[in-house]
Symmetry: C2
Subunit: 340 residues, 2 copies
């Protein structure tokens, strides 16, 4: 049995306690400075206020101030922070761990560079966020997983990606249960980029839900058209970055569930109803939308590559339109004719 | 402007009247012997009882007995029959047309042969259903299209496939409108097989809806896992048959909408709730399920290929399980661990 330290006591980080506990591991759940109240309540009666349920056996909560104690002797570190927290995580957590500690990131996001390079989180850590010359084994997990359902031990299939296959199989052995199904793959770019992009495209598909609502109808064909274009553009981007078709399947099924609920769907629906981006944000104050930086960065990178002749941005009409809506104040005017 | 004859006055055949009429064509809508009542009513007051709306201008209804008159001088024939009607269509309609008349089939289905060959409808016509040596230009259409929404002129994106690119572009020009978006492709096997298979896999994904209902919950993760496996197996089958990844995108978005409604979803849901196949059929008497022959034939072909060493049926665990449920009376026991 291992000692697993999870930093980030939000929904998804905390949900990982369940398959870990069912495998008999000792889990140390460390809150970020944003999670103080969650940790306080966990210390009081083991109830996780955000998940709405108690944590399973063998989970110990730690305040951020107790991080050193929580990291001591652990065999695996899980990065359970949202994408805007990765600089913080690199600076405050990764800086304290030994180089041979395996890290598993559950953060979804993309970073872009001036030359149009797009980096998924695990690569961004190693290339940009660590001290010069330092290299860690940072693996990541992606696929359709509503955290509460994982806590309820419902069947869930995800991909686990990283550079070293032995590490991936070891990680799989730490979490696999009768309900948590894990497929290891070395296609880091394919998995991480597509699962990040599905947040962007969930906004795109949900535009049709809002447009239909405006017309007083529930329509399938326009939604399906957008869904198809979203899959097409995710595949195109992943192929452009050197990733594989199979990896995009996880993002496709993730997109399928994300549209049925979730924050990005709310945003897309509001935009489709005719609200401007600013008005849509006002409708849902305080909503953290990971889709916004993803749309912005992916569009910026592809525009740059288009200029350099290393990509054709015209092959991404849905992403381009999402970027126009969000970053240029454009009204919704879906480029149906450019799809394909 | 062309004269277009549609044989089959069901939902989808009749829906084609709308983009055709909007392009200014003369349309002759011919009922099969099953459509007598629809045609009678159309002749009376132009109201299509199944679509629940009147037909657009320039549509003339014909009884099956008036077929010769309806075929005379037409430039395009649309086969609007369900998959169990293709022998009838070959024998009674295709036998009467000149060899140079372009045919567009909207039927979804697959036929299998003793050596494990799987033939989509358009190829089955040319290889098996016509008089020896006779060859027609049979093209087909596939993708996510709820017929009523096409009639309401809602945005719809489909693929149009066939062997000859000039014919495909001519067909596109006959139907393209501001709401009907058509992508020509020569990947006949890829489009036709995957859009047929999505009917089979809609049953598979809906198993999770029934299972969740049984548990008193609405669950996303198990459904997403099945959705991903369905896409994976459709891709695998299409690649095995020589088709392309891009074509499977149409079936993927078609699967996305089919699960939200439709007959195959009802069947899968009932099976997931614990009903046997026979009990599920009894719950919906008279329901025409195109998924049943598709599951049966695809599984039979893959089993045969497995024996011959030309395919690995173990890479299709969801299809195999659907076949066990439907053709061997097996209870639902989803092989989650075999997915990937």
């Amino acid at each position: 049995m291992s000692i697993i330290t999870i930093v980030g006591a939000g929904m998804m980080g905390s949900a990982m306690c369940f398959p870990a506990s069912d495998n008999g591991h000792q889990i140390r759940l460390v809150g970020t400075p944003y999670d103080q109240e969650i940790i306080r309540r966990l210390k009081e009666d083991n109830f996780h206020a955000k998940l709405g349920m108690p944590l399973p056996p063998r989970c110990t909560p730690f305040y951020y101030e107790e991080l050193d104690q929580a990291l001591k002797g652990c065999q695996l570190l899980i990065a359970g922070v949202p994408s805007f927290g990765i600089d913080w995580f690199a600076e405050n957590v990764l800086s304290r761990i030994p180089d041979d500690l395996v890290v598993l990131s559950i953060t979804k996001g993309l970073e872009d560079e001036p030359d149009g390079t797009l980096l998924p989180i695990s690569l961004a850590y190693n290339r940009k966020k660590l001290a010069p010359g330092r290299r860690l084994s940072i693996n990541s997990i992606g696929g359709p997983c509503i955290s509460q359902e994982l806590c309820q031990r419902k069947h869930t299939s995800v991909a686990l990606c990283g550079e070293d296959l032995d590490t991936l199989y070891w990680l799989k052995s730490q979490f696999i249960t009768t309900y948590y199904h894990i497929q290891p793959t070395q296609d880091v770019v394919g998995i991480e980029c597509s699962v990040a992009m599905k947040n962007a495209y969930a906004v795109g598909v949900a535009l049709a839900i809002g447009l239909a609502k405006q017309q007083g109808a529930a329509l399938s064909n326009p939604q399906a058209s957008l869904f198809g274009q979203a899959v097409r553009e995710m595949l195109r981007l992943v192929h452009l970055l050197g990733g594989q078709t199979d990896s995009v399947i996880y993002a496709t099924s993730d997109l399928y569930v994300t549209i049925n609920s979730g924050r990005n769907r709310k945003l897309g629906e509001a935009l489709g109803e005719g609200l401007s981006f600013q008005e849509a944000l006002q409708r849902y104050p305080g909503l953290t939308l990971e889709s916004i930086p993803i749309i912005t960065r992916a569009a910026r990178a592809l525009r740059k590559r288009h200029e350099l002749g290393t990509a054709n941005f015209n092959k991404f009409p849905l992403l381009r339109h999402l970027d126009e809506i969000i970053n240029q104040g454009a009204p919704v005017h879906i480029p149906w004719n450019e799809f394909g």
